[in-house]
Amino acid sequence: MTTTLAPADAPASPAGTAAPRPRRPRRSRGPRALTPASRVGLGVGVLWFSILALIPLVAVVVETSQGGWDAFARALTTPQTAAAIRLTVLNALGVTVLNAVMGTVIAWVLVRDPFPGRRILEIVIDIPFALPTIVAGLVLLTLYGPTSPVGVNVANTQWSVTLALAFVTLPFVVRTVQPVLAELDRDVEEAAASLGARPFTVLRRIVLPALVPAIAAGASLSFARGISEYGSLVLLSGNLPMRTEVASVRILAYLENGDQTSAAAVATVLLGVSLVALLTLDILQRRVVNRGTH
């Protein structure tokens, strides 16, 4: 990391005298208007994006609305579906809290505690991103399933959902907090410490407030991923109705029974929640960026 170079040009700007000048000379002259060629490119790009993603997603919402409010409410209040949605949201929330804590601790260790073997931890953290979800399920089943070498069997219990979600959402908070923590100005912490602040006070008053937007951004990504998880649960949770069945599995079950409207209703709920999480993320990222520039 070359972040230690950053403070070098900071003292160059005289405190409070000159007009607010960008700390670093901006090389970009900013965006320009569309040329005819880029207009065509944009058209093709947006068309492809619409065919691939937007039209199908709109089709889900339209399918839901065609069923009418009654069908929507009926699908969601069916005990089995309601239980699935509750289980999904509660587990996603629980795992998000776990990630907010563990993710921040992991990021802290990776940034502030340079020990040999850190590089390996970096790879281990990214494995859940890259591992196919069905393989993730199989992997967890091997250690925490019926043939567990340590005698811990969570297969077909609600803990299996928590475990699978914790696995697949592991990298989000780590990866959003890590860069912010690396950029954080150590001078402020050292100043606080030299003025007599105890380490815990420094952490609570200086480090954590600066990290909160990044933690929240990672947490919202982790929540969005958590409520939409499917692949890692297939082998692990047993998909028992009312007990370990998550929302995605309900959608699939409705679809297999030919009930597209109910499938679309549950899907619309998941889409809505993802959208809210994404909007939150957008707002939070804006705050993180603002924090970085002033």
């Binding site: 490119g41 937007l54 399918e63 494995i127 890259a130 979800t133 069905i134 070498p149 993802s274």
Partner: protein, 271 residues
């Protein structure tokens, strides 16, 4: 320098290592061991099974197509998002991230509704034109491209913002056309971010499961990809093959991640 006491440091380090070993390291290593309990037999048996070979070939072919589509789209859209101004740019930029947080099952359902023969949208028309999307490779490619769509854009956009347009404008003022500018100036400066995005897209595409399960129909030897085969073989108690194929998929994805981890600092210093 060190303000944190060594005890706190050591405790946190231990907690992190134990957590990561229990959650990721140990389980992943067990799959490797399960694959090689009988030496190379399981892997060799799997690779001589024509259904397995077919599913692996299909997975690779689908992943390459989806990655190619997303790379072309990703580079083009990134250039437009960073270097031009147009109405709705922020909306487009926000929407492009959407596929990352949509459930794979919802992706599958969305494609079924929009392009399936029973949907009200393009299905009947496509069927009339003799194009099969569902239960066909085309649907699998669409589903895979959908779920891995934003990965290239997310890597390339920050780098494009960072490098600015001075060199591009210099090249243009010296008479280079857009294509020359792209190949000689822009592409070399974004190459590591692009490689990074492409590797991530490839890893994600090789491993897609939920969306593919819905659109492909899981027809053995016709539309069954490697991840679907792992599920089916596990349920059919052919655990040896399930572990062998899972090991292959895991090995490729860990190789991708390792490559990317070692590229990351390189792309920071490359310029």
């Amino acid at each position: 320098m060190a303000r944190t006491s060594p005890w706190v440091r050591l405790t946190l380090r231990t907690v992190v290592i134990v957590y990561l070993v229990l959650l990721v390291g140990w389980p992943v290593s067990l799959v490797v061991r399960a694959t090689f309990t009988d030496g190379l037999t399981a892997l060799r048996d799997a690779l001589t099974d024509p259904t397995v070979v077919f599913s692996l070939k299909l997975t690779v072919s689908v992943a390459l197509q989806a990655t190619l589509l997303n790379t072309v789209f990703g580079v083009g859209i990134s250039l437009l998002l960073v270097r031009t101004d147009f109405r709705g740019k922020r909306l487009l930029s926000a929407l492009i991230d959407l596929p990352l947080s949509v459930s794979p099952v919802v992706v599958g359902l969305a494609i079924v509704l929009a392009y399936g023969p029973r949907g009200d949208w393009f299905g009947p028309w496509l069927t009339g034109a003799g194009v099969d999307v569902l239960f066909a490779p085309l649907g699998i490619v669409l589903a895979t491209a959908f779920v891995s769509l934003p990965l290239v854009v997310r890597e390339v956009v920050p780098v494009l913002e960072e490098i600015g347009t001075d060199e591009v404008q210099a090249a243009r003022s010296l008479g280079a056309n857009s294509l020359q500018t792209f190949w000689r100036i822009t592409l070399p400066s974004i190459r590591w971010a692009l490689v990074y995005g492409v590797v991530l897209t490839l890893a994600r595409s090789l491993g897609e499961f939920g969306a593919v399960k819905i659109v492909s129909g899981n027809l053995e030897g016709r539309t069954q990809t490697a991840t679907l085969l792992v599920e089916q073989r596990y349920h059919d108690f052919d655990h040896a093959t399930a572990y062998a194929v899972a090991f292959l998929l895991a090995a490729v994805s860990v190789a991708c991640i390792t490559l990317v981890t070692y590229l990351r600092p390189a792309h920071g210093n490359a310029r």
